[in-house]
Amino acid sequence: MIGMRPLPLLIVLLMALALQACSREDFSEDEKALIGQLRLSQLGPLKPDPSNAVADDPRAAAFGEALFFDTGFSVDGTVSCATCHLPERQFQDDRPLARGIGTTDRRTMPLAGASHGQWFFWDGRKDSLWAQALGPMEDAREHAGNRVAFAHRVERAYRDEYEAVFGPLPVLSGLPDEASPLGTAAQQEAWDRIGDDRKTEIDIVFSNLGKALAAFQRTIVHEETRFDRFAEAVIAGRRPEGDAEFNSLEVEGLKLFIGKANCIDCHNGPRFTDEFFHNTGVPAVAGLAGDRGRAQAVEQVLADPFNCMGPYSDAKEEECEELRFMVRDSPEMEGAFKTPSLRGAANRLPYMHAGQIATLEDVIDHYSAAPAAPGGQSELRGVIFTDRGRAALVALLKTLD
C-alpha cells in the first residue's frame, strides 16, 4: 500500500489533534490556575484553634502521642486510637467499617491534614479535633472506656506529663473506678451519684485528654507527591523532570479532573476537599440503619458539651464562627457526608463513609452512573467516561500517593 486513502488520513489527523490537546505544554491559563490551587505548597499553615489553648504546645503533642498509642484507655486494655488509625497505613485501617471493641457503622478516616477542616467525623458532629477525639474513647464499639477510669489512669501513668501541660490533677480519691454519663447502665448510675463540682473536674481532665490528642494530630501532615512536583513545574513553566513527568494518561486524567468530570468542584484546594458535606448517592449498607449523615449531626454538635461554645472550650463565644454560622436546616444536608481528601486515596481502599465501594474504578463508575440516593437528593450529575477516561482518572489519583 502506497499513500493513504482520505478516511484513514483524516482519522490519523484527528488522533494527532487529540494527542496534541493532551500534551503537557498545552494547559490553558484557566487550567493552570486550577492545577496551581491543588499544589501542597498552597496549603497554608494550620490556623490556630482558639478552643484548644494547647493546640500548638509541643509538650501537649508529646503527651497526646503517648495517649494515642496507649491501649490502657480502653475497657479491656486492647484498643488505642492506633488500633484503627494505623500510622503505617496513613492512620486508617483499610476496613470498610472500623473495628475496636465492636464494629462501628463508619469507615476510619485518615488523619494527615485533618485539622485543616472545620468539622470532624464523616458527618461533622464535632466542631474540633479535641472534641472529636473524646467520641471514640467512650463509644462502646471503639475504646468502650469511661471518663472516670481515664482520669484514674492519667493519675497512675501520666501525672507528670498531664500536670506539666494542664496544671494539677484534681483529687480523685473517693471516686468510683468507672463512671460516665455515656457508659453502661452501672457507669451512668455511678456518674449520677458524683457531685456536680467533681463531675466538672472529671470533664476537664477528659477534655484535656482530647486537647492533647488534638495537639498530636495537628503534627500529622501531608507529604509532597508526584502530583505536586508535576504541578509546581507546570506553574513555573518548567519541563517536569524525573518522576515529576506525567505520561499522557496522567495528563488526560488531570484534564478530566479539573474539567469535564467536575471532580474539582468538591475535591478542590491543596487537600483536594472543600471540607464540606455532600450527598453523592452512595448506597446504604445492608444491615445498618439508614445513615442521614450531616442532617442528624447538626443537633448533635449543638448539644455537645464539648463544642466550641461549651464550658470546656478555651474560646470566647464570638470566636466560634463555624458554630455561629453553621447551616442548620437544609434539605441538602440529608444523606450528606464530608468530602474526603484525595491525597493518598488511591492506596486507601475501600471508599466512601462506610467503605461501600471497593475500588477506585468502581468509584468512578459510581460517579458516572450517578444513582439516586438512598435518602435525600444526590448532587451528582452523571458524567459518561470512556474506558480510557476512567483509566486516566485512576492514573491521576495514583500520582497523589
Binding site: F276, R324, S330
Partner: protein, 143 residues
Amino acid sequence: MRKWLLAGVVLAALAVVVVVAVRMLMPPPDDLDLARSKPSDGGTYVVSVEPEAEPVERGELHAWIVTVALPDGSAVADAELTVDGGMPQHGHGLPTAPASAGHIGDGRYRVEGVRFNMGGWWVLKFGISSPAGDDTAEFNLVL
C-alpha cells in the same frame, strides 16, 4: 464517495462531543451581571456590596460590607438584612448561614460568616427590611 460521507459523519459526531463537553464544563454565562452596586429588585433601595478584604479566597470564612441607601442617596440606618445564596449551576446553597452583625454607620452593614467552598459562579441574595419597605437584591460573583 461513501468514504467522504463517513468522514462527514465522524466530523459531525466529533462536533457533538465538543458541544457536549463544553456544556458540561458550564462556564458562567458570558453576560453575567457582576455589578456590585444596583437598585434592589423592587427599586426601594440602592444596594452596594463588597467583601471586607480582597481577593475573596475559596474556603475562607469572611465578611462582606453591604451598603443600603434610598434612591435619593440617603443612607438607610435601620434595615434588617437576611442573607441567602448558592451556586445556580450546581443547584446548591451556601455552605454557611451568614448573618448581619448590624448597622456600622452610613447605611453600612457587616455581613459575617460567608464562605464559598468551590470555584465557579456564586449568587448572594439579600433581603432588606426597613420602614421604607421590604425588598431583595441579588449579586453575582465568579471565584
